[in-house]
């Protein structure tokens, strides 16, 4: 391993992308409107694509002739560094939208900042991903507004989702040692700066959506350090089934 910290730092975002992409893939074929089924799949596809770029780079840093699939398929839950937010179950469409919005408002500004990373490879992955994520954020924000300011039922559902997810939104902007080391080394992103922009965006959209902003400040955490919810084990059981059942095969 040439750079353990960079490796950890990359995995944080790679795992976010993979796990959320996997969650969204569960919607495929079951969306509320055909056009939105396509949109959900599209975002899933982008996220899996982003995960692959990060894993490929991480595997190179790791050396040992590892591949993207070794990282996705052969680590156990404690090795995953994604935040708890992305492993939350889909719930109804409103819950999925709110989870997506709370993630997109992070990833959009994260990639924006990562484009100026001193690491050229990370900067170029960020540039590609940023374009995609701008579209994701527009989509999820539009839906938050549409559902929030739609009918009484949709308002209540998406408000409920917001209330439930509120304590999961900040883990992603709380610094781990991988985050602070990456920032100090010049290839990472300042989460403090990011949080300010992100919070402003969240507030603006929730207001337009006529939703009330929850007051709680508590944040669940642990995911970035490998301590997950019970959900992740099942996600991995699904994701990794074939690689685990038939080790060493080409697919």
């Amino acid at each position: 391993m040439t750079d353990q910290n960079k490796f950890d730092y990359i995995l944080q975002q790679a795992d976010n992308c993979l796990i959320l992409g996997q969650r969204l893939a569960e919607w495929c074929g079951h969306g509320p409107i055909l056009e939105q089924d396509i949109a959900l799949t599209n975002i899933s596809l982008d996220l899996i694509g982003q995960a692959r770029l990060f894993y490929q780079y991480a595997a190179e840093i790791q050396g040992e002739e590892k591949t993207e699939d070794d990282l996705a398929y052969l680590r156990d839950a404690w090795g995953f560094k994604n935040v708890l937010l992305v492993e939350q179950p889909n719930g109804d469409f409103g819950f999925t939208i709110m989870r997506q919005f709370l993630y997109d408002t992070f990833s959009c500004y994260f990639y924006e900042a990562l484009m100026s990373s001193s690491d050229e490879r990370l900067a170029s992955i960020a540039a590609k991903s940023h374009k995609e994520t701008l579209y994701h954020m527009k989509w999820s924000a539009d839906w938050v507004i549409r559902l929030g300011d739609g009918t009484v039922e949709s308002h209540n559902r998406v408000q409920q989702a917001l209330n439930e997810l509120w304590s999961y939104k900040d883990e992603i902007v709380i610094e781990t040692s991988a985050d602070s080391d990456a920032l100090a080394a010049g290839y990472g992103v300042s989460l403090a700066e990011l949080k300010e922009k992100r919070d402003a965006k969240i507030t603006a959209v929730l207001e337009e959506a006529t939703l009330s902003i929850p007051e709680g400040t508590y944040s669940h955490k642990g995911g970035k350090e490998g301590v997950h919810s019970e959900h992740l084990g099942y996600i991995l059981a699904d994701l990794q089934f074939l690689q685990r059942a038939y080790p060493g095969n080409e697919w």
Binding site: A25, P32, N42, S44, R146, L147, T151, S154, R157, E250
Partner: protein, 312 residues
């Protein structure tokens, strides 16, 4: 213009292979036949998403996962083009979906079979998309313009799916014993249902004659089925798999493969609702639709509010 004269002009266009467009006069039965066929096709695309979606979260590599997502998304896109083509005939998507959910409208029976292993993702692409191409390429020349144009786009993507499915099979067949077994098992289960995709024999096909007259159909069911068998057998040989038909052999005289009798009892059973997954598939579609009702209502309510604000 009298109806007879209109009909005569319509028939002339059909004979001269001039495309019929939405605003043109057309016989009511032609319109009804198109709605039935195109909506059935659209329903097949969206019900067809389900058996493959079943393996996306379990795809064995990230590359395969991305390809599977993209494929199923393509099928959704096909559904979308086809519903739109159908709407040019003066019906609403919601009404078509209601017919799907009530069982009044049919969809391709092949999707009532379960996907039991990863190899099914290969077999479906190779055989099911392969058979779909046989059926659909002639439809690119269908007499109704919007349908023909939708089919051009659809066919391009289907042939990509077919190659991708075959490549999954090829990888499995070059792999471990367990993988080869998986591939053979998938072929055993999907072979006959794929042959059934071409519909009843010509003798039993009630729509063929009129549809051929109207240029909606170009080849008979049996012609297409034969073509599919002839193309597919050499592909199975390259894979080193055994096609599950003891009567299968090359007929030098005919220049075609002879193949065994299809189990028509099974075919009619699956069509009439007794396939292994009929209920499951329709329940899944209904659930998606019903669970989505509040979302569609909210989107409409919001759009109305926006429109009012603009006026004000």
């Amino acid at each position: 213009m009298s109806t007879e004269l209109l009909e005569q002009k319509f028939n002339e266009k059909i004979d001269q292979e001039v495309r019929i467009e939405p605003k043109d006069w057309m016989p009511e039965k032609y319109r009804k036949t198109l709605i039935r066929q195109i909506s059935q096709h659209a329903h097949s695309e969206i019900v067809g998403m389900l058996p493959e979606a079943n393996w996306i979260t379990r795809a064995p590599s990230l590359r395969r996962k991305a390809a599977a997502l993209a494929k199923v998304q393509d099928e959704a896109g096909h559904g979308l083009y086809l519903y739109s083509a159908c709407e040019t005939l003066g019906v609403e998507r919601d009404d078509l979906l209601a017919d799907l959910h009530s069982g009044k409208a049919k969809y391709s029976s092949i999707f009532n079979y379960p996907t039991l292993s990863w190899a099914d993702m290969g077999a479906i692409g190779w055989l099911v998309d392969g058979a779909a191409i046989m059926n659909q390429v002639p439809l690119c020349r269908a007499s109704y313009g919007p349908y023909a144009r939708a089919m051009v786009r659809v066919c391009k993507e289907e042939s990509f799916h077919q190659r991708q499915g075959y490549e999954i099979m090829l990888t499995l067949c070059k792999g471990s014993e367990a993988q080869k077994k998986m591939a053979q098992d998938a072929l055993n289960r999907w072979w006959w249902p794929s042959l059934m995709m071409f519909g009843p024999t010509d003798a039993d096909s009630k729509h063929t004659e009129q549809s051929m007259r109207w240029g909606i159909k170009r080849f008979t069911n049996d012609e297409l089925r034969q073509k599919f068998v002839d193309v597919t057998i050499p592909q199975a040989e390259i894979l080193g798999l055994t096609v599950p038909d003891k009567d299968l052999k090359w007929n030098e005289e005919r220049g075609h493969y002879d193949f065994g009798e299809i189990n028509w009892e099974e075919f009619f059973n699956v069509i009439s609702g007794n396939g292994p997954c009929n209920k499951q598939r329709i329940d899944a579609r209904k659930k998606a639709y019903d669970d989505g009702a509040w979302v569609r209502e909210a989107a409409n309510a919001y759009a109305e509010k926006k429109a009012k604000k603009k006026v004000a």
